[in-house]
């Protein structure tokens, strides 16, 4: 029987619109140094050191066909094992979990970095689309998200006000998160008064451009308990891909997320997520996505995301606070965002989340998303007992 896998340390940089002062490796090292110092772990192959690295980065953001190049010296990948994941960081954590669970490695350091300031945001996002089919339409995550928002609003009567409530809640929560890039006091009217980007979505419906990094260390139960009195266990993890072509999908449905969540819940023994989860950190680079993803995660029924947020259930102090950290909307880079959700869930379960702490949190969900309109959905369930 494989050992349980625990996360023994997490660290994030403060997220920032332009870290012109830092080389990518130096940026990542800000987070890496913290997890090395906190655990006292070294890189090595003696069975009690970090013998694996999983990095997460995107070549189009970094402008190299090896976006991991400048981070690898810092994760011990000199004559040692390393795997790069070029999707959301939740999948990097998943790979590290599988490496440790399989017994192939004893301890794995996982690092995601991105500096969206280094290139054209729109060209980089456009590059995520199929080269001979969709790119030439000038689609990017803004316009594609707007198509999805329109479909979701049309099918289920979701209102711009309900989407704006996500922005108001998360930007306000971000005020309690020292790593958050853009905490803001906003009203629904502020969001609805911000400039139109692509109908029906406005500037404040989107996350700001962001630079930053996140790091964590995973190991098996025996080693984890030696390292920290507060290991956080990965209870369930899964991901599911959706077809790329938007015309093949009903964009008002989160079918891939429903499947990913079902598998992760089954692994974690969760039958009623709305009751059994103490909080959720959900990747929502665009406002309406938090509503749609909550449906996919089974927090409410299909098409009920808008009415669900109006109940206040997902606010701080509600039954299941969603994005106490402020979420991706408060500013996280692409690829880093989902892993930041895992890091925030870990802080909550360690009772180290400061002013954003959900009292007595025992089980938390972290969600990551990659690709256009949530093409790849990843779910992780974490617990502290």
């Amino acid at each position: 029987m494989a050992e349980r896998v625990g996360i023994v340390a997490v660290a994030q940089t403060k997220y920032s619109p332009d870290r012109a002062d830092a080389h990518e490796g130096e940026l990542a090292y800000e987070a890496i140094k913290q997890v090395l110092d906190e655990t006292g772990l070294k890189y090595g192959h003696d069975g009690e050191s970090i013998d694996s690295a999983v990095t997460c980065s995107q070549d189009f953001w970094d402008g190299r066909t090896i976006a991991n190049l400048n981070v690898n010296p810092y994760v011990g990948a000199h004559l040692s094992h390393e795997v790069k994941v070029a999707e959301d960081g939740v999948n990097a954590v998943y790979v590290a979990m599988a490496e440790v669970m399989g017994g192939h490695h004893k301890a794995s350091i996982v690092v995601a970095h991105a500096k969206e300031s280094m290139t054209s945001f729109r060209l980089a996002e456009n590059a995520g689309l199929d080269a001979i089919w969709l790119r030439q339409l000038g689609l990017d995550n803004w316009s594609a998200a707007a198509l999805q928002a329109k479909r979701y609003m049309h099918k289920y009567g979701i209102t711009p006000e309900q989407c704006a409530q996500v922005v108001v809640k998360n930007r306000k929560n971000a005020k309690n998160n020292p790593f958050a890039q853009e905490p803001m006091d906003l009203t629904v009217e502020d969001v609805l008064g911000s400039p139109i980007v692509s109908t029906p979505l406005r500037q404040l419906d989107f996350k700001p451009h962001s630079d930053g990094a996140v790091a964590m260390i995973l190991c098996g139960e025996t080693l984890a308990k030696k390292i920290t009195p507060k290991p956080i266990w990965i209870l369930g993890a899964s991901n599911c891909y959706e077809t790329h072509y938007l015309g093949d999908r009903d964009l008002a449905e989160a079918d891939a997320l429903i499947k990913a969540a079902a598998k992760a819940y089954k692994m974690a023994g969760i039958s009623d997520p709305g009751k059994e989860l103490d909080l959720a950190e959900i990747s929502e680079p665009v406002s309406y996505q938090e509503l749609l993803w909550m449906e996919g995660l089974g927090f409410c029924g299909r098409g009920e995301g808008g009415r669900f947020i109006e109940t206040g259930t997902t606010q701080m102090g509600g039954k299941i606070p969603v994005n106490p950290s402020g979420g991706t909307l408060a500013g996280n880079p692409d690829g880093v965002a989902g892993m930041a959700r895992v890091a925030e869930a870990v802080l909550q379960l360690r009772n180290e989340a400061g002013a954003r702490q959900v009292p007595g949190a025992k089980v938390a969900l972290a969600h990551g998303v990659t690709g256009v309109c949530g093409q790849l959905q990843a779910v992780m369930i974490l617990g502290n007992s």
Binding site: A22, G25, N72, P73, A131
Partner: protein, 160 residues
Amino acid sequence: MTQQSSQEQELIRINYGTPRPYKWATGKYIGKLYKEAKENKQLVTNRCPQCKQLLWPPIAFCGRCKVDAGEDWVVMNQRGTVVQYTYLVVPMWDPHYGEKFANPYPTATIKLDDGAYLVSRLQEQDPEKLKVGMRVEAVWKEEGRGTGMGDVLYFRTIEE
């Protein structure tokens, strides 16, 4: 449309020719090397506190020893010895500025006398005179762009 025989499907490809802009931060460590190269025509780097070797390019972490590298900065002697070389017959062009290199200078790994291994170009273009072990010294461009090793024109052969 290209005329093809009725049995063959026309081969269609989609071209992409738009430049993708990037601005890479040199950061604290490599940034210091670039500044010293531009302002003082000096090659500086930091020394690993554990193995005592000079790191190149400068970096905050020694990949070999896997320890924090700190800031023991050293101004390097610009003389060294050729470790290996190749004569680039089909020269690459400068990918940042699009300029063709004036000459297909031989590319070489040079071990500086202080111990760091640099990859740069050699002045010597006569294949008969290129030798592993030859002694060389850095020659700087008169007007560098502030791009570190890009401001070194080549390493010239020296007699000692």
